[in-house]
């Protein structure tokens, strides 16, 4: 029924108000979304790594080693990646032999025992909300996607995991859970898509109370879509790809597309102040969010209206945004939606060096002519992108050689300095054309020139594929992690240079000889930009690679902050970055947070930021 109506409404947004009421009514019905990810996540997703089980980089040792991505979910899947092995050897001094394999999924009796006592279980069962006491379910909700998490999954076991998993299916059930937790003095950890990279969902080792993992994944309905106001009310457990698929069917998009959007959930986005790739057009989560419900132990925090803006004291939406599951459980969110763009086009630009790329981005931001997405990869990342280039065949290789010659010989670019910017344009045909012209003109002023659509598209596709690399890296004794920050424009270049240098220095001090540090600028704002760092090293003889990695990353964060960067742009504080929280928000800020925490969650049933 919904699909039929889509045909009527698509593209008719501007057709006057007479139709609006009608449209409005038609979408009042709830969409029960069938999620791609099943309730028992491990049926589809890796239990000890990133993403789909059927997608992983595979080394086929034969006469000639070949590497490819398995499955058929991503465009490069199944294709031989001939540059992979050499690059790994050069960068990390690693031969793709003798992989260190992960342990098998532990037997049921190997998980930490649940601390749940019979009385509590009785009460919980009486809620009539689906639950699980199985070790595997509990363990899979005890972690996110940090290096530490994955390393532990592959090689060990978490010391503390939730004692029970609950799958509420609606706001009211969450209220019941929170109420019961209040009554029985039980802690709650909210679990969404499981993609946290801040350590937020890890159980505090010293928590002796029962811990409920509140899994929001079954609370994923689109409650209603309001076309007149272009908003939709959605339950917090929905994951990005489900949401976009359903809205697309109606002719809409939220336009919110974080790199993790295949798996991350709406509640998670709100809780961490997430940022999407296309925020230039659609805005970040805080721009998209119109209304939100959060269940706290004092009751539900929400506003009485669904207005575009309101002047009414401090905006409590911002208590919810970034609360990281520490103040309440986010259950329902009203998000803005937009009609699907008519035209989507990719693009790319080559620059002689990183500086000219950043200058271009600054100008683009200054004139506010950003396309949906504009990203700049540094030289290391550009080269790194090359390894994911499938075998191009003879002609293709020849063309590649010619391209390289053109760049270095004719354009005078140095291969070890050049950088690539990838672009994504959205709008109608005319808008896209105008945008393209402006961006390419500005780039031209700084010595950049267009390098084609294919390169751009590949760049964005790789965003999703790169996440799979860490699993194969771990197999060959390379630990890898990314971290991000935001920084004012005038400090961006020095921040990148200093962080790279700091990491190189820390590696030298720890006798780590084979490492990669690379960065890219992923977002632009009027007042600054976002920088994403990738750091990996061959841990060889390092006794505790995770702790070592953590130590280096921590120094890098010190450096970032000293260089004027932030604690995080969109990953959040979690448990990994609490150290820098007080200096970031001031002592008064800390007490303000604590006061809020004391008000909404006085007995600390939820985790805390600081």
């Amino acid at each position: 029924m919904i699909n039929e109506e889509k045909e009527n409404s698509a593209g008719n947004i501007e057709n006057g108000s007479s139709k609006l009421n009608q449209d409005n009514k038609k979408f009042q019905e709830t969409i029960n979304v069938k999620s791609v990810v099943p309730k028992y996540r491990q049926e589809l997703l890796k239990w000890n790594g990133w993403g789909y089980k059927d997608c992983r980089f595979e080394v086929n040792a034969g006469d000639v080693t070949s590497i490819s991505l398995t499955g058929n979910r991503y465009p490069i899947a199944g294709k031989n990646l001939p540059h992979f092995e050499g690059w790994v050897k050069n960068t990390f001094n690693v031969d793709l032999v003798n992989p260190t394999l992960s342990q098998a999924l532990p037997e049921e009796d190997k998980y930490p025992k649940t601390l749940l006592i019979a009385e509590e279980l009785v009460r919980i069962v009486r809620l009539n909300i689906p639950y699980s006491l199985r070790g595997v379910d509990r363990m899979l909700r005890a972690h996110g996607q940090t290096l530490h998490d994955i390393f532990t999954l592959r090689n060990g076991m978490f010391e503390r995991i939730p004692d029970i998993v609950l799958w509420p299916t609606c706001h009211e059930e969450v209220e019941k859970i929170v109420e019961l937790a209040n009554e029985l003095n039980i802690a709650i950890l909210v679990f969404g898509g499981g993609t946290a990279v801040s350590g937020a969902v890890e159980c505090p080792v010293n928590e002796r109370r029962t811990i409920i993992s509140l899994d929001t994944s079954q609370m994923n309905k689109i409650l209603w879509v309001d076309e007149a106001n272009l908003v939709a009310c959605i339950e917090s457990g929905i994951i990005g790809q489900d949401l976009e698929r359903e809205l697309k069917a109606l002719g809409y998009t939220t336009g919110h597309e974080p790199d993790s959007y295949e798996f991350s959930s709406l509640g998670g986005w709100v809780a961490t102040r997430a940022s999407g790739m296309k925020k230039n057009i659609y805005g970040n989560i805080e721009d998209l969010l119109v209304h939100v419900k959060m269940v706290t132990s004092k009751g539900v925090l929400e506003k009485n209206c669904q207005v575009p803006r309101l002047s009414c004291g401090p905006d409590f939406n911002h208590i919810v945004l970034g609360s990281e599951g520490s103040l309440g459980v986010i259950t329902e969110v009203i998000l803005k939606i937009r009609p699907l763009p008519k035209c989507t086009r990719y693009g790319s630009i080559v620059f002689p060096n990183f500086e000219s790329g950043v200058q271009t981005m600054r100008q683009v931001a200054k004139w506010r002519c950003q396309p949906a997405s504009i990203r700049l990869m540094d030289n290391e990342q550009f080269k790194f992108g090359m390894i994911l280039k499938p075998d191009a065949g003879l002609i293709g290789s020849l063309i590649d050689i010619l391209k390289k010659l053109y760049l270095t010989k004719i354009k005078g670019f140095e291969f070890d300095k050049l950088c690539v910017m990838t672009l994504l344009f959205e709008g109608d045909e005319k808008q896209v054309k105008e945008q393209e012209k402006r961006v390419y003109d500005i780039a031209g002023e700084f010595g950049g020139f267009p390098a084609g659509e294919t390169n751009g598209e590949r760049g964005y596709m790789l965003t999703f594929v790169i996440a799979y690399l860490r699993d194969i890296a771990l197999e060959y004794r390379i630990v890898a992690e990314s971290f991000e920050t935001s920084v004012p424009w005038d400090r961006a270049i020095s921040l990148c240079a200093n962080v790279k240098q700091r990491i190189a220095q820390e590696c030298r001090d720890l006798s780590i000889r084979h490492f990669l540090i690379s960065c890219r600028v992923t977002q632009t704002y009027d007042a600054g930009c976002v920088i994403y760092f990738y750091f990996a090293f061959n841990h060889g003889d390092v006794s505790d690679p995770v702790a070592t990695h953590h130590q280096i990353e921590s120094r890098a964060r010190d450096e970032i902050i000293a260089c004027g960067g932030s604690i995080s742009h969109h990953h959040g504080v979690g448990k990994l970055r609490t150290k820098w929280y007080p200096q970031t928000v001031s002592e008064v800020g800390v007490s303000l947070y604590n006061a809020t925490k004391n008000e909404l969650d006085p007995k600390i049933y939820l985790r805390r930021i600081i």
Partner: protein, 671 residues
């Protein structure tokens, strides 16, 4: 010192068929800080002019003073042209050729600890690198560039004084080899200084050359380290504190000369004859130097000092994340961190000093001449040199010596204008070598020293130029010894208390940093004890040992002139509430000259450096206050405090003086 650590860069050149070939070698120089955008001298200047900070500043002046902005832009361009370095490879090669030819002629060798250089080269490339050589001679400039050329390091951008800028042709040659020029700091031109600071900022953040500057600010006339200056260092470090560079590496370098080209000039200057203006003709005159033999030169490159590591966590905690980066300045707290770094550099420079046999001869001869003893015979001297060498090495001195006889022979040859063997093979100083013809008595900075006094004094002052480089090794021990001589049977605490007083009083003559004073004291006590120079009794009290009388005397004699200068200065200060600096200098020298008539006073006591240092140290301890007077600098004197200092110092002024009076000495030699 380990002789094998050094190689003579002239050695391969001696066998060259043509130096021209060497000078035209293919350069594959290591740069300090790889930049994505290769800087050029003109790009750097352009960037300075276009910097938002400069532009904003110019707009402000333009508005306030109603001067057209274009005119100001042009002014800044002019200033930048005056400051900015150039790079002309042809000139560099040509200079290399000329230098090698000159050096081969006048030097026995230029010795460099080459392994250190390799190490330095290996860490270059990822952040600014600053070479910080000691400054004892104009030759420092040229030698540094020659070394860089030899070892394939990009010739540094060198901070040079404006004196050179005025020299015809020389200015531009130096500029072409990388010199950038800095006016003297008493100049108050804000436009100039804003531009200069920005130029340095640009050089550090966007330049790729190493930067070279002299932390002492000027050549040390006395051949020992001077208090570091912070101005340029602050400018260089600013980008680090602002996090505009990943790190800054400092390379302390010591350049030791067996014979200093300017020794005579310096001796005169120390006595008050003003420094002649730098001119090209004077330079050509000085080329007569190529007839002389300057012996060996040692250039010791220290371990690279990473300033980030040096400042440690402080750098991470500085809070300057708001506001435009180009408007940030160093905070007072930042500035208070910087002296420790500059002192560390000076300390390392001192520790790396190379001593020659001549320095030992100078110390021994001076002691001999100031005691009423027979002149030393050659054999006595040789024996004493070996003995002293052994002792100084205990105090971490690096002494360049291969074969003692040939070393002594060479010392007498190289320094034939200072010391000689008399007819009966006794060692004496050369006294009638002093040419006063060119001295304009009216321009003397201090007291009008008579020709007689000058003639008597210059040889001793020249001798001291070669004693001074030793003093940093032995001053701690010398102070402990003199304290124990006056206050036998002292506890460690009471010695330290007195030592602390003296060390602080002499802070500018024997440069150190306050954090180091307790450490150096303990170290010196340990060495002296081990060496049986002092001993500790069962009751924990220290005394001098009986059997080291000779060494005790040598140590004491080495610091006596300083004690006397300071004491006299304090005596003069005591009589005023306020006094011009010039007048103090005159009166102190006058008083010393008067005393010299009656008894032996070491003529080095007359040196103006020590008097000025005494004043600086009293300023530091707030005993006097430096103010601007009608005739330049003046001092307001806290007489009570000055008297206290004087009284504390007085016991160490040895009476009656043991030395021979100059009159006797002169007489005897005439006989």
């Amino acid at each position: 010192m380990n002789l094998n650590d050094y190689e003579d860069i002239l050695e391969p050149r001696r066998f060259d068929l043509s130096h021209f070939f060497w000078c035209s070698k293919k350069l594959n120089s290591v740069i300090a800080y790889k930049q994505n955008i290769k800087p050029t001298p003109s790009l750097l200047k352009e960037a300075v002019l276009n910097d938002p900070k400069i532009q904003k500043f110019l707009e402000e002046i333009s508005r306030e003073k109603r001067i057209p902005k274009d005119f100001l832009d042009a002014q800044v361009r002019l200033i930048l042209d005056e400051i900015g370095y150039q790079k002309n490879l042809k000139i560099i090669r040509l200079l290399g050729l000329v230098l090698v030819k000159i050096c081969l002629k006048v030097c026995e060798g230029i010795f460099v600890n080459h392994n250190s250089i390799s190490h330095i080269k290996s860490v270059m490339g990822s952040c600014p690198v600053i070479f910080v050589p000691s400054h004892r001679s104009y030759a420092d400039f040229i030698l540094m560039s020659l070394i860089c050329f030899t070892y394939d390091i990009e010739i540094p951008a060198i901070a040079a004084g404006m004196d050179f800028h005025g020299m015809w042709a020389m200015g531009s040659i130096l500029r072409d080899t990388g010199a950038f020029f800095m006016r003297r700091s008493y100049n108050n031109d804000t436009l100039y200084w804003t531009t200069f600071k920005q130029y340095v900022y640009q050089l550090v953040t966007k330049g790729d050359l190493p930067i070279e500057f002299f932390i002492e600010g000027t050549r040390s006339r006395s051949n020992k380290s001077m208090m570091p200056k912070y101005g340029l260092l602050n400018m260089i470090l600013k980008p680090l504190f602002l996090r505009q560079v990943p790190d800054i590496i400092f390379v302390p370098i010591n350049i030791s000369y067996e014979k200093i080209m300017e020794e005579k000039l310096f001796s005169f200057e120390l006595l008050g004859v003003p420094k002649p203006k730098e001119s090209t003709s004077a330079f050509f005159k000085s080329l007569s130097i190529i007839k002389e033999n300057y012996g060996s030169i040692h250039m010791t490159f220290g371990k690279p000092l990473c300033s980030k590591q040096f400042f440690g966590e402080y750098l991470d905690t500085s809070r300057r994340s708001t506001g435009p980066i180009h408007e940030q300045e160093l905070t007072e707290r930042d500035k208070s961190m910087i002296p420790s770094l500059s002192h560390e550099i000076i300390y390392i420079q001192q520790k790396m000093t190379t001593l020659y046999v001549m320095n030992l001869i100078a110390l021994l001869t001076n002691h001999n001449l100031t005691k009423d003893e027979e002149l030393l015979s050659y054999d006595e001297l040789k024996e004493k040199i070996l003995w002293l060498k052994m002792i100084l090495e205990k105090f971490d001195a690096n002494i360049w010596s291969t074969d003692i006889d040939s070393d002594i022979k060479k010392a007498f040859e190289v320094h034939k204008n200072i010391i000689h063997l008399t007819g009966n093979r006794k060692i004496d100083i050369v006294k009638d070598h002093v040419n006063l013809a060119n001295i304009d008595i009216t321009k003397l900075k201090g007291y009008h020293l008579s020709e007689k006094v000058m003639t008597q004094s210059v040889p001793f002052v020249m001798l001291y130029i070669y004693i001074n480089p030793i003093l940093h090794c032995i001053v701690d021990a010398a102070l402990i010894v003199i304290i124990l001589k006056m206050y036998a049977n002292s506890t460690s605490d009471s010695i330290f208390q007195r030592y602390h007083f003296l060390r602080n009083l002499f802070l500018y003559d024997f440069v150190t940093y306050y954090t180091r004073i307790p450490l150096d004291f303990q170290k010196a006590v340990n060495i002296c004890t081990n060496f049986k120079l002092i001993q500790i009794n069962s009751d924990g009290k220290y005394n001098l040992c009986e059997n080291q009388q000779n060494l005790v005397e040598i140590f004491i004699s080495s610091i006596e002139p300083f004690l006397y200068s300071y004491f006299t200065t304090l005596q003069i200060l005591e009589t005023y509430n306020r006094c011009d600096e010039k007048r103090i200098l005159v009166e102190v020298q006058e008083k010393i000259v008067f005393e010299m008539e009656h008894k032996f006073i070491h003529p080095y006591s007359l040196n103006l450096d020590s008097i000025a240092h005494c004043l600086s140290s009293l300023v530091l301890s707030a005993s006097i206050k430096r103010v601007r007077g009608d005739n330049g600098v003046a001092y307001e004197i806290d007489r009570t405090k000055v008297s206290m200092v004087k009284n504390t110092l007085e016991p160490y002024i040895l009476k009656p003086h043991l030395g021979k009076t100059i009159h006797n000495n002169v007489l005897r030699n005439k006989l």
